[in-house]
């Protein structure tokens, strides 16, 4: 087809110059360039002139946690490349031969940063998702073999994960996650996730960008250097591998980003914006933070050491073009040359270490691999049922199914059962004080990536004696109780932006408010009053607080519910969305939020809302009855229908229900949760039934 856009040339603009000369500009001025929020954009913004390079000579003199390195040879270079259709991870010999595409992610995904394991046999990488309408979705870490085979997902939220860096002993991967971004460490097998840093500052939108921080290990594995988010200045920090002694390594005007510790431990490469913020180049600093100096005059970013420490790969715009390309230079900044023959865009280089026992690089194309998009479900069969007893909160987290079972109705105490979702076997019984009783079930329990949290009330013989949070460490199955400064809590508990959110009142019905709690310290960091008599269904997404308000007449909740957005701190209403369908019917269940969308059920429809404005992004013909949840692959599962006994999956991309399982109406299903390959349904009578998906 000819370029269809050319027909625009048939239309001519009206003459407006006189109007322009007379016109008084509106006060809101657009800016000429957006902040360079993400590394890729940084590369873009570099002015393109590789003329008159003059090189500073790097001096690897002073020590600082240095350590003798084993003899390692330089292998292939992995990178993220764009071939005109999609972004994939590739590997290539440093001379440009043997280009191999390693991933086959869909064009709704972006294969991003990658990092080689120290033995050169595996690659950790980032897959960034996109929504159909182009908004960015969450990014997660994956690990694959050097030839692209056996891709496995390492992280599964919450929030985005990016910038993987393999520990020198190959057992752990440091990475960035969350908003504000923090450095986390996870076992290379996906076990033992923990947060290393406690960063709270930083520009919200910058940290949303799923870039930055870029942790890099010292070669002895004792320290990690990273670049925290900051809009005006970004400095380099170091932290011990156990999370202690977080301290500043280097402060200079402008941004210092993308640190990379040298294989000999003596120096750290980084990208600096230069003092005026626009002259990006590759710098080195001694590992003790002294002697920062520019390595080459070329506008460049994303430096990566060769494993033998003799060369540096980096990204820069190809001279005279708009396209990012990969370059290699000597460690002293001399002999800059482009890696030829790469896809039209190439970024995020990472260099493969080759030890003697390491496999040679692949010479042939790898076999096609599975993409991380959800596979269609052809059968859904009702499987085993286990008796757990009257229960409410239900969650799948950290590889286990967790359900809070009522232990003592008088004190509203529970026992959390930890269940193996593949066998249905009970692995642990953990006594807790919290039992968030909800008639719709399911809510009141969340996972923050490290701990399981349950909201509840502590009871004395006189009645409720204060709201509590229960924290369970999945590593030890131990529970701890944290007191909240409220008399009574509701069943709402949300994890968003690195914080826990719940609702509570001083005494029943009095001074309702939304509490924001730091899961690291257990402290309440903000309170937002709720100006409503009847409310419920707390939703927090990207810091936007929403709550359902219901009107009450004659002690009966009437059918006109409204979802309102509250201004943090003041409780002023910022936006309102009607939560009833065209027949005036509200849903019997509360909204949930997930990955940038609020899902609001009404009597007859499911609405997808913009969490900031409340704008209805989409409407789906789905009569959510009981519990429902939005799962990471973008689909929505619900207990639908009048009897809450139709287990259905909605594919928002097509707008269709593509899986439907009829459950018994008795006992009444009250809550459901998605686990890998199955759905677990909790009933009013305390049974858990597994629905096996294939």
């Amino acid at each position: 087809m000819d370029d269809p856009l050319r027909v625009l040339d048939l239309a001519d603009a009206p003459e407006q110059w006189e109007d322009i000369e007379r016109r008084v500009p509106r006060p809101t001025m657009p800016t000429s360039s957006s902040p360079w929020r993400r590394t890729l954009t940084v590369v873009v913004a570099l002015t393109v002139a590789i003329a008159g390079l003059s090189f500073a000579v790097s001096t690897f003199t002073s020590g600082g946690g240095s350590m003798p390195t084993a003899t390692v040879a330089n292998g292939r270079i992995a990178f993220s490349g764009f071939d005109g259709t999609s972004w994939q991870i590739y590997s290539v010999e440093p001379d440009g031969t043997g280009l191999t595409q390693l991933t086959h992610v869909s064009d709704l995904e972006f294969g991003g940063e990658s990092a080689w394991s120290p033995d050169g046999k595996r690659i950790a990488y980032v897959v960034q998702g996109f929504h159909e309408d182009g908004r960015t979705d969450r990014s997660d870490l994956w690990v694959m073999n050097a030839d692209g085979s056996d891709p496995r997902q390492l992280t599964d939220g919450p929030g985005s994960s990016w910038s993987p860096a393999w520990s020198p002993d190959g057992t752990k991967i440091a990475f960035a996650r969350g908003e504000p971004a923090n450095v986390y460490v996870i076992g290379a097998d996906g076990s033992g996730l923990r947060r290393l840093t406690s960063l709270t500052a930083g520009d919200e939108s910058a940290s949303r960008a799923s870039m930055g921080l870029n942790p890099s290990w010292s070669p002895d594995g004792s320290q990690i250097v990273f670049a925290p988010d900051g809009e005006v200045e970004k400095d380099l920090y170091v932290v011990n591998a156990d999370g202690s002694d977080e301290s500043i390594l280097l402060h200079m005007p402008g941004w210092q980003i993308e640190p990379a510790w040298s294989p000999d431990g003596r120096s750290i490469l980084f990208t600096s914006s230069g003092p005026d913020g626009a002259d990006f180049g590759i710098y080195a600093v001694d590992a003790d933070g002294t002697n920062p100096h520019r390595l080459s005059d070329q506008p460049a970013a994303q430096p990566a050491w060769s494993p033998d420490g003799g060369q540096i790969a980096f990204t820069a715009l190809r001279p005279g073009s708009d396209h990012a390309a990969l370059y290699v230079m000597n460690a002293d900044g001399t002999d800059v040359h482009e890696i030829p023959g790469l896809p039209v865009e190439a970024t995020f280089p990472s260099w493969q270490p080759l030890s003697e026992e390491s496999n040679p690089a692949p010479s042939s194309l790898p076999t096609p691999i599975e993409t991380p998009t959800p596979s269609p479900i052809s059968t859904a069969e009702i499987g085993q049922t286990i008796d757990v007893g009257q229960a409410s909160a239900l969650l799948y987290a950290d590889g286990s199914l967790w359900v809070d079972v009522l232990r003592d109705a008088a004190t509203s105490a529970g026992t959390v059962l930890r269940i193996d979702p593949s066998s249905g076997e009970i692995q642990a019984r953990i006594a807790v004080e919290a039992y968030p009783a909800s008639e719709h079930g399911g809510s009141g329990m969340v996972f923050d990536g490290r701990y399981l949290w349950i909201v509840g009330i502590r009871w004395s013989t006189d009645g409720p004696a204060g709201g509590i949070l229960q924290r369970i460490d999945p590593g030890t199955n131990r529970a701890e109780t944290i007191d909240l400064p409220v008399g009574v809590t509701d069943v709402d508990l949300v994890f968003d932006n690195g914080f826990l959110w719940t609702t509570g009142t001083s005494s029943p019905g009095k001074d309702p408010r939304v509490l924001q709690i730091d899961p690291v310290t257990g402290e309440v960091v903000s309170e937002t009053p709720i100006d409503a008599q009847w409310w419920g269904g707390l939703v927090v997404e990207d810091g936007a607080i929403w709550i359902m308000e219901m009107s009450v007449r004659n002690s009966t909740v009437q059918g006109d519910a409204t979802l309102v957005r509250l201004e943090p701190g003041t409780g002023s209403v910022l936006a309102r969305v009607s939560a009833v369908d065209e027949d005036g019917v509200m849903a019997s269940t509360m909204p949930v939020a997930s990955e940038g969308v609020i899902w609001l059920p009404t009597g007859g429809e499911l609405l997808a809302l913009d969490p900031q404005t409340g704008e209805v992004l989409a409407r789906f013909d789905l009569a959510v009855g009981g519990d429902f949840e939005s799962v990471p692959d973008g689909s929505v599962w619900c207990l639908c229908g009048f009897g809450w006994n139709e287990l259905q999956r909605l594919d928002p991309a097509s707008g269709k229900v593509d899986v439907s399982v009829h459950l018994d109406r008795k006992p009444i299903p009250i809550a459901m949760v998605k686990a890998p390959g199955s759905i677990w349904v909790l009933t009013y009578e305390g049974t858990l039934t597994r629905v096996v998906l294939k």
Binding site: P4, A11, I20, R23, F130
Partner: protein, 154 residues
């Protein structure tokens, strides 16, 4: 000052048709396009020497102004709005097809494929990375081809 103004007028003469057409394709409304264009140039005059690259600046500014206006009006009101300006039939046909493509994809396709603006400028307007621009581009092109195919078939 006089020099600057004539410099802006020169930019206006050079850019106005292409910029207005691109804004029209993006907004679907000749009046919104004209207003965004006029506002961007009025701001360019007000900013004077502060703007070092008037050409790139005015494109970015005009599209941001238009996007802001679109946000205020909401798509539903824009589509099918009666305008003071009659468009040639093939243009109208194209604009209607573009209107059903998601905004970011439409913006990327129009700025990059019609107006030949560099990827980083599109990224700056959208506030996203180059990578995201390419995603928008490939999806937008696919969808536009499909839509125009459907229209000519039917």
């Amino acid at each position: 000052m006089k020099d600057q103004r004539s410099e802006v007028e020169r930019t206006y003469r050079e850019q106005k048709n292409r910029l207005w057409r691109a804004l029209l394709a993006f907004t679907g409304d000749p009046d919104v396009a004209g207003d965004a264009l006029a506002e961007a140039f009025a701001q360019l005059i007000a900013r004077g020497a502060e703007v070092r690259s008037p050409d790139a600046w005015v494109w970015t500014a005009a599209f941001r102004i238009a996007a802001g206006e679109m946000g205020r009006r909401r798509t539903s009101e824009l589509e099918g709005t009666e305008s003071s300006c009659e468009l040639p039939e093939p243009v109208d046909h194209l604009v209607r097809a573009l209107a059903v493509i998601p905004r970011a994809q439409r913006l990327a396709v129009v700025l990059h494929d019609y107006a030949d603006r560099p990827t980083d400028e599109v990224a700056a307007v959208l506030g996203v990375t180059r990578a995201t621009v390419h995603v928008h581009l490939s999806r937008g092109r696919k969808r536009l081809r499909k839509l125009l195919g459907e229209q000519s078939d039917g």
